[in-house]
């Protein structure tokens, strides 16, 4: 068998394994006959191992055959020859996607092993693993995407599973509300992404990254866009990346996302999901080279987010928020590295950071024991190293900075007051206008729903 054949065996396996897992778990759940716990965790493990083996085999083959780019095409789904438009599902293996997909499988494998014990006897066990399968498939599709629409599909799967896992404990209102918040921010990011996709199709009559980033395999290659085109698309993708990676000013959702079971928080907000924005920027990094302005924007956003994360992490008093902001700090630095063109460093940084945070988040509940052990080792209370800030920054400034950090940069308040509120106000105004108009046409009150009493009737009899 030639290496080409082997690629055609192992390549699809990488995508097929998680897809099959999702189909199996999803169908069983839809039919109302979920598998028992043991079967679910075995299936998940099998899918992860298969996928991981496939990815490693592809890597080995690539090394052996000295190929730097392998593409797998799943065919054109839509072709409009008149408009020069086609919609393709395409996967590619290169120096960016292979390490990232291996990382995804490795971390998902470890986390699913963790979760299958941690969530033992939890009523939502099956639901967790279905969402986990959605996430895994989304991660794999995103990492291997060869066209921007493929990437978008994976991106959406990740977003959906992420929001639903934040709201995993849906019997309480907090998780649901925070899940909705995450979802809303993702929508904004997705909108930007979608516009970028459309624009890219318009400009290059296709979504292929190869087309976008030129001929050479990642990270070389020259984008076939003008500087202004690159800036426009690049900025849109930057908004998309900022939303997904919780960069400033979207950072507010990151600590709020710590509502799900610990393993899902770890895999999403410590490890993989939070790096997707950076991954997107890495994927389109040849684009950055076309526009200095874009590079500056990326670096600036990265540095601001990193600084913000570092400052905010210092005042967090709960372990999961502290890790969330620490995570943000590093993602910010990674984004800045990408902006500076340090692509390999960014990749290594990303992989190392993902492993570290997963471990930290998974063992977050053991914090008290760790502190106790550390205290015993040191032989006294843990020293509080006075930081540079405290020596350099004056008292009043520090207080202000503290408030800034405690209120998480006021970003939530800002977004709510200056973005969401005007937005909803506009639509409320439209609604009022519409009502006036229909009332006028009907010659009477036209909306029956107004007279319905919706509030406070649920539990009247149960008291």
């Amino acid at each position: 068998m030639t290496s080409g054949h082997l690629f055609n065996v192992f390549g699809p396996l990488v995508v097929a394994a998680p897809a099959l897992l999702l189909v199996l778990l999803g169908t069983a759940a839809l039919l109302g006959r979920p598998f028992p716990e043991k079967t679910i965790s075995r299936l998940t493990q099998a899918a992860v191992i298969l996928g991981l083996l496939g990815a490693v085999a592809v890597l080995a083959l690539m090394l052996a055959a000295d190929r730097r780019l392998v593409t797998l095409t799943m065919g054109d789904w839509i072709v409009l020859p008149g408009q020069h438009f086609h919609f393709t599902f395409k996967f590619m293996f290169d120096r960016l996607s292979v390490p990232f997909v291996i990382l995804s499988f490795a971390l998902c494998g470890v986390t699913s092993a963790f979760a299958s014990k941690y969530l033992h006897r939890e009523p939502g066990f099956g639901r967790f693993f279905v969402l986990f399968a959605v996430f895994l498939l989304g991660m794999v599709v995103t990492s291997l995407a060869g066209t921007i629409e493929t990437l978008f599909a994976g991106w959406e799967l990740v977003g959906l599973s992420s929001a639903l896992l934040v709201g995993f404990f849906h019997e309480r209102s907090g998780p649901v509300r925070n899940g909705l918040r995450v979802w809303t921010v993702y929508r904004v990011a997705d909108a930007a992404f979608l516009i970028a996709t459309v624009a890219l199709h318009h400009l290059t009559s296709g979504g292929d990254f190869v087309r976008l980033t030129g001929s050479g395999p990642w990270p070389e290659g020259q984008a076939l866009l003008t500087s202004n085109q690159a800036l426009f698309i690049g900025l849109l993708l930057l908004v998309a990346a900022a939303g997904k990676s919780a960069l400033v000013p979207f950072s507010g959702w990151l600590p709020r996302a710590m509502e799900g079971p610990t393993p899902s928080s770890a895999i999403f907000y410590g490890a993989l999901s939070v790096h997707l924005g950076a991954f997107l920027l890495l994927r389109v990094s040849p684009l950055l080279e076309q526009s200095l302005l874009l590079c500056i924007a990326v670096v600036a956003l990265g540095l601001v987010s990193a600084w913000f994360g570092a400052v905010t992490a210092r005042v967090q008093s709960d372990v999961k928020s502290a890790i969330a902001f620490a995570s943000l700090t590093q993602v910010g630095i990674i984004v800045a590295e990408i902006g500076c063109g340090l692509r390999y460093i960014a990749l290594v940084h990303m992989i190392g950071h993902a492993c570290l945070r997963t471990l930290q988040l998974l063992r977050a509940p053991t914090l008290l024991l760790d502190y106790h052990t550390l205290e015993n080792a040191i032989g006294g209370r843990l020293p509080r190293q006075p930081t540079m800030w405290e020596q350099v920054v004056p008292e009043s400034m520090r207080r202000r900075l503290y408030r800034f950090a405690l209120e998480r940069g006021f970003f939530d308040a800002m977004l709510t007051d200056y973005f969401v509120r005007p937005f909803t106000r506009v639509f409320e105004w439209c609604d009022a206008m519409e009502r006036r108009w229909t009332d006028f046409l009907a010659g009477e009150q036209s909306r029956e729903s107004d007279s319905l009493d919706l509030a406070g009737r649920v539990a009247e009899e149960l008291r």
Partner: protein, 1052 residues
């Protein structure tokens, strides 16, 4: 809206001298708050401690109002227990009979006696819901088309048949038949209408199903009529807090706004050193640091808090203190003097976890790194009320366009509230409809009921409300285990003493072993006695009277190892022996270096530059990540192996004896005097009744539990050591008891410990079932042989104990071998992903205080606290008993009641699921990103628990016990108010008496049968559920030994 607040605030608020009364109100309210302190020192206590002055049932009714939590399990749960036989019909009947006494025979119209009505209501589930839902159920489901599934087929058939005849006879033709005249016109109309809708023309061809539907619809109509006769609209009291009123009026929760900010502030204020930057001006207290922080310029406030800065600045300028601020806020909120008490209580209860923690840190945690100064709870309330005001103004304005005075907000909002007062008519009709089916009433019976009967029925149903039904079901649930236990203990004790009397004088045992009274040690003791019948075991609170601050050789701080109620005066330290001092110094240095380094990495990984560095080499973290999650046991062994390089040397000694006259932490003052040691040893031995027949080896066993990823770890440790590990107590006690000077003093007091007896300290880890022995290097060579024998027995016991525990773990196969079971529990302790390292006190239900012989060989399923006490060595007043029970009853009752409440409402009283827990401020856990501090036990801890009140069985005369109750207000309160059950077991004739209504009534056993098994494993093998009692047959030791071997062989 901010200006309205300001203007109002500028009004000269009368600075009334009532601040003292305000403080009193706050303190009163504080007692209702959860009293759980920092989670690293977890002490089990009665969740409803504040209501202990009331009878249990009354307190629970009261608690629903105060805590908005469930007082019992859901009604359906009890019905399931009824169905599977855990509650028997006779238990239900007995409890009902007891409650109703003579009133049970009263007739409810033609419907039978009250007793039968209630029994029917208990046995059959009665659904209720909002009116809309019930109407939907009738219209859209099969409820009005088919009989309930729990109606027996013959009853169903009878009713349908009866209705058919009746209708055919009286109504078929619709013409004014003679008899129709005797029915009310309304009924005739209803029947006519129904007949028409079902197709009267072909009535002769109606199928069985049509008749069934017809019958039920007719019944439903009749029930609706009946329900309308007996109208008794209920008008609820309007809520007190502005938030609740607004929530009802506009469905917007002010607390969402307030809590987000307040929780964050509470967390940084109480933080014990987790955050890198401490709260500025924390030392000034809660209120002032809030003012300083939120008075600072240059910050962006969320919309609802616009104006807060100005308000805070005013408070600062006018030097308004917290109490005055509360006065002011109450005034501005329009809270009248008569509502104050309740308003303050409900306001504090709104964020009860944090408020409770503040109160604990203020009153009860002087040992913490950063306790809260006095008055913090009042300051918290002041801040909370300021925020409440802002939130109420904002929500009222946004949602209602309300711009008026805050004082009138509640009245205005209440008017907006949906005014549909529910008459409860549909609910009642639906209840009647369900009852009619279960009672087997036909439509003809129903139409015959006079309106008087309908209203009587309505009153009856009302009187036997859901809460009352659940209470009755719960009592029946408890009655069952109570009877089983008393029967089994009495029967077993009788037989055991008969056998003992027949056997004559007892030989000296090979060795004796002391354990904690902990329910988890019950199985260990039972197995040990099975494995090595020639041993004896004792149960005693495992601090062994050595109340001390203890500091181990590698510990940073001294921690108290004694029950929380005792404040230790003595200090004990562990030191390396001289030979190893140098090694110790070197290793301590290495440890410090490693510790500092890992602390630096821990901190650094969250910072900017350090984080970048750690992240770039972060791939190294994948090794421990994969290792610890996929291979926890191997990873732990590896870690231990490397750990030995820096661990303090194996051989250490206790600094136990002081040279100075007074105890204290300074040099020379550390330790005990010989006299004190003698007192400690004497008291422990006399309490447990070990004053003669000393074995050559007496092993004192402390206990604790080790687990990972478990914020509640301390709850799993020894309760008698205030959540610490009790090994050092056992070690210290043994050293004291071995001291010849101590023995000399004891001998003078008539307690002779033979020279040949050696005391040895040990430590049992209840999670991984390891037993470690202390100072084996001091063990006399003469005892080598007996120790080897004891150790063999203990090792076998560990395996069997692990095996018995594994039956409860769903992830361990029921076919597991003892060897694999031990490996399984070892892995659980080391597994990061294990949410249930062990089940702690779950399933605890009974406390037995008395001689071991009474219950030795009785399978008690790890549900029993066992305290040793010999009534024959005590006086008439029960001096020894009183001092044992002074600790045992409150402690065991506290554990059992905490489990009870966390179990009946894991979300309300417990801390919810462990899975999203988030450690905050190093003090407690939140459920997810930002919630109230969650107290109580988690779902994972209580899932196999049966919520029942603790049954105390004391081997003593009732008269003695009465004296003890009289002597202790705590015991009297718990027993008289029925928070626990109390029974006595007569030391001589082994009859039992149950304490009811202030006196001991003779208990009539229901059964004398007790299944006999050959060994514990025969009884529990293959079962995961709670098991009943069984007698592990007392076989001759030789036969048993070989049998045990055969058993092990079968597994291997």
């Amino acid at each position: 809206m901010a200006t309205t607040v300001l203007e109002r605030s500028n009004l000269a608020v009368a600075r009334s001298p009532s601040t003292a009364s305000l403080e009193r109100l706050i303190e009163q309210a504080a007692h209702l708050l959860p009293s759980q302190g920092p989670i690293s020192v977890f002490v089990h206590h009665n969740t409803l401690h504040a209501l202990e002055e009331m009878k249990f049932a009354d307190a629970l009714v009261h608690s629903v109002e105060t805590y908005q939590c469930q007082p019992y399990l859901p009604e359906e749960r009890y019905r399931q227990e009824l169905a599977r036989g855990r509650i028997r019909r006779e238990d239900l009947a007995a409890v009902l009979q007891d409650d109703l006494s003579d009133n049970g025979d009263e007739l409810i119209g033609l419907l039978g006696t009250r007793f039968y009505l209630r029994l029917a209501m208990l046995e059959h589930s009665l659904y209720t819901g909002p009116s809309e839902e019930l109407r939907w159920i009738i219209a859209e489901t099969d409820a009005a088309r088919a009989f309930r599934p729990d109606v027996p087929a013959e009853v169903r058939k009878r009713i349908i048949e009866h209705t058919r005849r009746w209708i055919m006879r009286e109504f078929r033709n619709g013409h004014s038949h003679a008899t129709v005249a005797s029915y009310s016109p309304k009924l005739v109309a209803v029947v006519g209408e129904l007949l028409d809708s079902f197709g009267k023309a072909c009535i002769e061809e109606w199928s069985e199903a049509t008749w069934e539907a017809f019958t039920l619809q007719l019944m439903w109509r009749l029930c609706v009529d009946g329900a309308s006769v007996s109208a008794s609209p209920r008008v609820g009291r309007p809520p007190l807090r502005h938030r609740d009123v607004l929530l009802e009026a506009v469905d917007e929760d002010c607390d969402d706004l307030v809590h987000e900010m307040l929780i964050r502030f509470c967390a940084v204020f109480l933080d014990q050193g987790f955050a890198h930057w401490p709260l500025p001006e924390r030392d000034k207290g809660f209120y002032l640091s809030f003012i300083e922080l939120y008075g600072a310029p240059g910050c962006l406030a969320p919309r609802w808090l616009r104006g807060l800065r100005a308000e805070v600045a005013r408070l600062k300028e006018d030097a308004v203190g917290p109490l005055e601020s509360i006065e002011e806020s109450l005034e501005l909120l329009g809270v009248g003097a008569d509502e104050r008490e309740e308003f303050i209580a409900t306001t504090l209860m709104a964020l009860r976890g944090w408020a409770g923690m503040i109160w604990q840190m203020e009153t009860n945690a002087e040992w913490a790194v950063r306790p809260a100064p006095q008055g913090t709870l009042a300051e918290f309330l002041a801040v909370r009320l300021i925020l409440d005001r802002f939130a109420a103004v904002y929500v009222a304005q946004e949602q209602m366009g309300y711009r008026g005075d805050l004082r009138d907000l509640r009245t205005t909002a209440l008017r907006r509230r949906s005014l549909s007062v529910n008459s409860g008519e549909v609910q009642r009709a639906f209840l009647f409809f369900q009852l009619a089916q279960t009672l087997g009433l036909s439509p003809e019976d129903l139409q015959r009921l006079p309106s008087k009967t309908w209203s009587k029925l309505s009153a009856e149903v009302e009187a036997f409300s859901e809460l009352e039904r659940r209470r009755t079901l719960h009592y029946a649930y408890e009655r069952r285990y109570l009877n089983q236990t008393l029967d089994a203990v009495a029967a077993h004790a009788k037989r055991a003493y008969r056998r003992l009397a027949a056997a004559g004088p007892q030989p000296t045992p090979d060795f004796q072993m002391f354990f904690c009274i902990d329910d988890r040690e019950e199985s260990f003791r039972r197995h040990l006695e099975e494995v090595h019948p020639a041993c004896e075991t004792f149960g005693y609170a495992a601090f062994f009277n050595v109340a001390m601050y203890y500091r181990g050789a590698s510990d940073a701080h001294a921690r108290p190892l004694c029950p929380v109620v005792i404040k230790p005066k003595h200090y004990v330290e562990e030191l390396p022996v001289f030979t190893f001092e140098e090694a110790h110094r070197r290793r301590a240095l290495a440890r410090r270096w490693l510790g500092s380094a890992s602390h630096y990495i821990h901190r650094g990984s969250r910072s900017l530059v350090g984080g970048a560095f750690t992240a770039i080499v972060g791939s190294l973290a994948s090794a421990p990540l994969v290792g610890r999650i996929l291979f926890p046991r191997t990873a732990a062994q590896l870690r231990r192996m490397f750990g030995t390089l820096v661990r303090p040397p194996e051989v250490t000694q206790l600094l136990l004896e002081r040279s100075e006259p007074t105890p204290g932490p300074e040099e020379g003052h550390i330790g005990y005097s010989v006299g004190e040691m003698a007192d400690i040893v004497e008291r422990s031995l006399r309490d447990t009744g070990l004053t003669s027949r000393f074995a050559p080896l007496v092993i004192m066993t402390g206990h604790g539990s080790s687990s990972l990823n478990n914020p509640h770890e301390s709850a799993y440790n020894c309760g008698a050591c205030s959540g610490g590990r009790g090994g050092p107590n056992a070690r210290a006690f043994s050293q004291m008891a071995n001291d010849p000077r101590v023995r000399a003093i004891l001998a003078e007091r008539g307690l002779r410990i033979p020279h040949a007896t050696y005391f040895l300290g040990a430590y049992h880890n209840t999670c991984n079932d390891q037993v470690a022995f202390f100072e084996l290097e001091r063990l006399p060579l003469t005892h080598k042989e007996v120790f080897a024998r004891a150790r063999r027995a203990i090792d076998e016991t560990r395996r069997r104990n692990a095996h018995e525990r594994c039956r409860r773990f769903e992830s361990a196969s029921l076919a597991i071998s003892p060897e694999a079971a031990l490996a399984h529990v070892e892995e659980r302790a080391e597994d990061l992903s294990q949410a249930r390292p062990e089940y702690n006190h779950a399933t605890n239900a009974i406390t037995f205080v008395g001689r071991r012989d009474n219950v030795r060989g009785l399978f008690m399923d790890r549900r029993t606290f066992l305290a040793s006490y010999d009534p024959t060595l005590d006086d008439q007043q029960g001096t020894i008993l009183a001092r044992i029970l002074a600790a045992v009853i409150p402690v065991c009752a506290g554990i059992s009641l905490e489990y009870y409440f966390s179990c009946v409402d894991p979300q309300g009283y417990g801390c919810g699921s462990k899975l999203p827990h988030n450690i905050v401020s190093l003090l407690g856990v939140m459920e997810g990103a930002l919630t109230d501090l969650r107290t109580g036990l988690s779902v994972q801890m209580i899932e196999i628990h049966e919520p029942v009140r603790q049954l105390f069985i004391i081997e003593t005369k009732p008269e003695t016990m009465e004296q003890v109750i009289k002597g202790s207000p705590t015991i009297a309160r718990l027993c008289n108010n029925e928070w626990v059950f109390l029974a006595t077991l007569d030391p001589q004739d082994k009859t039992t008496r149950l304490y009811r209504n202030g006196k001991f009534e003779p208990y009539q056993p229901e059964s004398h049968e007790l299944p006999q098994v050959y060994s514990s494993v025969d009884w529990y093998r293959g079962w995961r559920d709670n098991l009943g009692y069984a007698e592990v047959a007392d076989l001759p030791s030789a036969a048993r030994g070989s049998a045990a071997e055969a058993e092990i062989g079968a597994w291997a």
